[in-house]
Symmetry: C2
Subunit: 338 residues, 2 copies
């Protein structure tokens, strides 16, 4: 049978609540008793029942992680896995557990969150993707539920906990560098504007273009579902009207898809760069220049910010910017392009 607080109490010759006090390290218990009770606990291999404790405390020490499941995206992109690891390592150290949940649509996301909140299963929630007008964020705000966003909500940015890269600057850096390398007709292939991350990256692209006094050219900008296939198709279309001399994509696969179209069309020597430092970028020939967004750190800090909030740390930071590093590889450096 399971060892409960009562068994420990009996064996140690005290009342159950004394044991409880010992666990909570209450100052009202004499050192002698504490020691005795602790010994009995160890002897009996006692572990508090978390469920019972949660019921009494209204605290579960569990965080709910919402993963969007835009099918393939989640697979090939190590982003989520890295985030999960960062979360796990920090949370474990702080004594928190993490439940994860794939949601195949925004509705399912909202439903899941609702359920988490109503059933009191989790103390806080972690979102890993944000739209400009995000229903999950709205719901969580309205219900005053602790949560953190990996990424950055657009509305009420200062009231929400978030951890993000500076995506504007990250993209600006790439484009500046490409311009420095002599490129002028730089194509941007990005995800939909409803997601904050892509909006930011486009902004960075725009700023770099403008700062360098290059004329804005709408024909070089494409937005859509950020997959290799779509990017490939988009570039095929673009090539009918204009030939870029470089490509930036909001993901490595996207940049690569677009690049493939240039190769097939016989447009040679196009430089290209992406985001996320995916296996593709390392193994591809040529290796692909990319931005390492430090997903593990994003996860780590997200857990930290949220847990601090839950434990009402006054010194806590509410928002954290994680550095992103541009890694130059063959695709934007001199190499023999076929």
């Amino acid at each position: 049978m399971h060892v409960t607080i009562k068994h420990v109490a009996k064996k140690a010759g005290v009342s159950p609540s004394t044991v409880s006090r010992v666990i909570a390290d209450s100052p009202k218990i004499s050192v002698a008793t504490k020691k005795r009770v602790f010994e009995t606990m160890k002897e009996m291999n006692y572990q508090p029942n978390i469920i019972a404790r949660s019921l009494a405390n209204r605290v579960t020490y569990t965080l709910g992680l919402i993963l969007p499941s835009k099918d393939e995206e989640v697979f090939e992109n190590p982003f989520f896995m890295q985030v999960m690891r960062g979360l796990s390592v920090y949370a474990k150290q702080k004594g928190y557990y993490i439940m994860y949940n794939y949601c195949r649509s925004e509705e399912e996301e909202v439903e899941t969150i609702q359920h988490y909140m109503d059933s009191k299963w989790v103390d806080g929630i972690i979102l890993t993707s944000t739209r400009i007008k995000d229903k999950s964020v709205e719901l969580l705000m309205k219900r005053d539920q602790p949560f953190v966003v990996i990424g950055r909500p657009e509305a009420q940015r200062d009231k929400v906990l978030w951890v993000d890269n500076d995506n504007v600057m990250a993209m600006e850096n790439i484009v500046n560098r490409l311009i420095e390398q002599g490129h002028r007709k730089i194509a941007y292939i990005g995800g939909e504007q409803q997601f904050t991350v892509y909006r930011h990256r486009l902004r960075g692209y725009r700023q770099a273009i403008e700062q360098n006094g290059i004329d804005w050219d709408d024909r070089l900008v494409v937005e859509g579902e950020p997959t290799e296939q779509k990017a490939y198709e988009a570039m095929k279309q673009m090539l009918k009207i204009i030939n870029p001399d470089a490509i930036v994509g909001t993901d490595d696969t996207v940049a690569y898809g677009a690049y493939k179209a240039t190769i097939e069309a016989g447009v040679l020597g196009v430089a290209f760069a992406g985001f996320n430092n995916t296996p593709l970028s390392i193994y591809n020939n040529p290796t692909i220049s990319t931005v390492d967004i430090n997903a593990e750190k994003l996860g780590h800090y997200a857990a930290q910010v949220l847990i601090d909030q839950l434990e009402k740390k006054t010194t806590m930071e509410r928002n954290i910017i994680v550095e992103a590093n541009y890694i130059e590889r063959e695709s934007t450096l001199d190499y023999v392009r076929r």
Copy 2:
């Protein structure tokens, strides 16, 4: 304030336990009352407090997922992510939650499992990696805790729930096919024998070699940490004493690492194949022949088998073999190798 069973009872004009019975769909409640109570519940937006329910039931509807964190391995390999998705989809459909937990060593694994059990946090546990002599499996068996293994324990195989591929046959198939294609000196680069999966794959290799009347050659077999780097180094050594005409690796990156060494050594035309259908195998030039082990299905069935066990289904299957598909790509077919 939170709506509890009592509030609903009061408003519906019945006792709390009647509401509880309605929720449990007990036959002892009249249809009229059921309807009335259900309406009140909806009206008040009542959601049962899972914690309280768990305490009373001794059931949490939560599964604990143990992820080994052999650093890089987990990152680049989509295996775990796919397993997680398969688990999540099935579990959600059955009303179960999943907690995940990275463990950086076997000790941490055992510790985590111990904690899960003692604190009564989870109903069952999912293991994603198994050694020949697995401490986690031993512990779980000893404590009579429900669990399922993705992979296959060696000892007490018939007493444990598991879901696995037929790795012997999968590897046998590859090697048979390579032999059929005219290869004779096939190198095997695999993970350590302490892991069941690698033991099985080696067995498959051996069987294929023997069945085809090819002389066994120790020099062609290497076992060690299954990383690209180690495989590369191992092949460098091998090339000093023998030149294989084909390579099989227990992972795509392993096969690739070994292949790279042959290229660098100027040994041309070596075919190679791996496992896991990783992004590398798709994006590499040449594309790599590989075995898709259907990780998502492994996850799906693992959840199913475990949940069936928890719910004491008599018809349940205790073990499931998930098919593995060999995908032939350029690396083992005719193509111009540089």
